[in-house]
């Protein structure tokens, strides 16, 4: 039963991704053409509340439901891995019109062909694991 809450969170996430059209290839294309505020509004409002809430959690040292302090792990400092990795991700995001979350939403929505994107993403992740030592980080 301890996993039930994560299932419910996932269901809400899947519904929001589909209903907001953030899982639509067309919305991603439109965003990169700067022809709609929609995607910027989604990310901007999520971020505004995210920054505020994260600040409040830290300020009031809020605890999780298990009574543990909520920890934020700082990301390792670097430039190259974030920029190079980010650019590669962005190329794929625009081409397949989907990021890792919406891939699952679209499977549920019945788009069989998104499984090809998922297979590609798994192979890409595997290739990264193989080449990791040789890449600048």
């Amino acid at each position: 039963m301890k996993y039930l809450k994560f299932l419910i969170i996932g269901i809400i996430f899947g519904i929001v991704m589909f209903k907001s059209e953030a899982a639509s290839w067309f919305r991603i294309y439109e965003m990169f053409q700067f022809q709609s505020f929609h995607m910027y509004g989604i990310m901007g409002s999520a971020l505004t509340l995210g920054v505020l809430g994260t600040w409040l959690i830290k300020k009031y040292k809020l605890k999780s439901i298990d009574g543990e302090p909520i920890k934020f792990t700082p990301k390792n400092k670097s430039f190259s891995r974030y920029m190079y990795g980010g650019i590669l991700f962005g190329l794929g995001w625009a081409l397949a019109g989907s990021c890792p979350g919406p891939i699952y939403t679209l499977i549920g929505a019945g788009y069989i062909s998104i499984l090809v994107v998922l297979v590609g993403a798994l192979v890409g992740t595997f290739l990264y694991g193989l080449l990791r030592e040789k890449l600048p980080h």
Binding site: I12, S36, G41, L49, M83, I87, L88, A94, I114, V116
Partner: protein
Amino acid sequence: MEWILEPWPWYVAGPLIAGIMFLLLFGGRTFGMSSNLRTMCTIGGAGKKADFFAFDWKAQRWNLVVVAGAILGGFIAANFLSTDISVEINPDTVTTLENLGFASAGEAYLPNELFATNALTDPKSLVILLIGGLLIGFGARYAGGCTSGHAISGLSNLQLPSLIAVVGFFVGGLVMVHLLFPLIF
């Protein structure tokens, strides 16, 4: 309640996404979807080929349950919470896409030219989807996160690395759409 069946506006979706991140934080976890790809590689036995995958994936089971939920959520949204799923994008965007050969622009949720089941018999769309996925998987792990891990979780915590990654996401996306699309389509 009619509005539920319509597409949800950004000011409903954005706050809900922030809410999902906070629910996970209060559940003692963090919001990040692309790490599931690594977990799936590990379950598939990739740990024998690269140390990167040699970790105890069972600690990540909760996130796979989130994935199962996201699949279920997509099913519920598409089948029970929508009447018309065509995405009303900007008419200018529709024109640009029609000129690129996407006749389904403005009339579908995903372009039929790439995602319709019969497009799977077209080698070109198959290769496009595969390469798109490859870049998503490789890039997300290289950058240490995707839209959820960096653009939402990381930026909410004011992480400079996440800002660099998000700038990278946009550089890549803009190059693809503006420079490469005219060559591909």
